[in-house]
Amino acid sequence: MNWCEYPGAWLGSEVFQNYGCRMASGLWVTFELVAISVAIGFFLALGLAIARLYGSRWARVAVSGYTTFLRGTPLLCQLFLVYYGFGQFREFWQDTGLWWFFREPFYCAVFTFTVNTAAYQAEILRGAIQSVPRGQFEGALSLGLHRWATLRLVVLPQAMILALRPLGNELIVMIKSSAIVSLVTLFDLMGSTRLAFARSFDLSIYLYAALIYLVLVEIIRRVWDRLEIRLSRHMVLR
């Protein structure tokens, strides 16, 4: 018996045992997808938030257009536009040498999720940066710090404490939203659950999938609690 069959056997569920290995590999796909896109999305968002706050007028208009579009349309719609829509310009992608990227459903999903989560995270970071009292900025400048140094050493560390919770929410939302990739042939956790259900017609498999998502989210919640304690340790009264 493989390790991935044990949870099902232990819970006494035949269907969960039979499809345990598929669901484990699905869980890994979900994990990769969300981890890569949220991580890349964070760095994109940082740039976008700074451009939105301190950039030229055109940069501000462009960034707010970007966030409005991506936050205002359904993720599934964006995924289909990228997967089936971009897919129709195969010659163009082949000419530009990018077809290997848009050919694979996994990269299409990573691309879509990255640009989507970047928009949300940019708004979170923008709000957090704006919440840092103006005096902090002015004080740092009066001490002769460069604008970038002020941002990096004074403003951002304080903004991150404020942004941490909403960013955690965004990560949780992404984990749950990632279930839609099963519609573009990726076997993530949801995809392998759908397959297991289609084969066995046993509804209880959805319950086990729900439990796995729940455990994932609970783990993130706990990690986030730790992170918050760590980031705000200088503010704790001793």
């Binding site: 195969r90 459903p105 519609l183 042939t185 759908r194 397959l195 289609a198 084969r199």
Partner: protein
């Protein structure tokens, strides 16, 4: 004593009459038919959101023969058997092959259609060899939760199986060049090859039927408890086979090349 016997007899008659009435009440006057509406030429929702296709015409013909009123309900393929069991409709006509796996869940009427299974691919595909060894590392598309999906997963372990919610999405991805092959019913594929796929794709080979996976052919599916309905539909199917009306509809909808 005599009156007692008469009383028993009368009571027995009443009970018999009552059960007779119950059986009457269970007689099918109205049948709800579930279909997918995304598998031409079997069943399809056209641009006007109307159902059309062989199974729609044929289902209506069967209802005419059975003298019952029929309503059609469109349901996604993935949930088509669970929705039957949840009593959302009474029978499925959706190009469904009567496989052993499905027989564990539902009962099938007699077979009303049997079509070859094809593998299609881009026009520039050179070889018509579709053995698992030849297709190693290639991506093969099929509609999820179909016999074709099971077939790909069982025999083409070294190829990438790509499973789509509907056949149309698989066709679109072949058109986009993400797939090397598609497996599906010849009819559904011929429809694509004569239409949108005219310039891009061609038939590569016919797939040899594997009885364990593919089953005897396409049939209507009913809940296991509805034996009377199953027999009624099977009888109507036999009638249409005998009087040539089945053939007429086949000729109307199933055009190869």
């Amino acid at each position: 004593m005599k009156s007692f016997v008469r009383f028993i007899a009368a009571a027995a008659l009443t009970v018999a009459g009552a059960t007779g009435a119950l059986a009457q009440a269970k007689e099918w006057k109205e049948i709800r038919i579930g279909t997918e509406g995304a598998y031409p030429p079997y069943n399809n929702l056209n641009a006007k959101k109307e159902l059309e296709g062989f199974e729609i015409d044929y289902g209506n013909l069967l209802c005419e023969k059975m003298k019952v009123k029929c309503t059609w309900i469109v349901q996604d393929w993935d949930g088509i058997i669970p929705a039957l069991q949840a009593n959302k409709y009474d029978v499925i006509f959706a190009g469904m092959n009567a496989t052993d796996e499905r027989k564990k869940q539902v009962d099938f009427t007699s077979v009303y259609s049997k079509t070859p299974i094809w593998m299609i691919g881009p026009k520039n595909t050179k070889s018509d060899d579709i053995s698992p060894a030849a297709l190693k590392g290639k991506s093969i598309g099929a509609q999820g939760s179909t016999i074709h999906a099971n077939y790909v997963e069982k025999f083409y372990k070294d190829s990438t199986a790509r499973l789509y919610p509907t056949q149309e999405e698989a066709n679109l991805d072949l058109l986009n060049g993400r797939l090397d092959y598609i497996v599906a019913d010849a009819l559904a594929l011929a429809d694509f090859l004569n239409g949108k796929g005219k310039d891009c794709c061609k038939k590569i080979a016919e797939v040899k039927r594997d009885d364990a996976i593919h089953g005897p052919g396409v049939a209507g599916a009913v809940r296991k408890s509805d034996t009377a309905l199953k027999d009624m539909i099977s009888k109507a199917i036999a009638e249409t086979m005998a009087d040539g009306s089945h053939k007429k509809l086949e000729d109307k909808w199933f055009k190869f090349d």
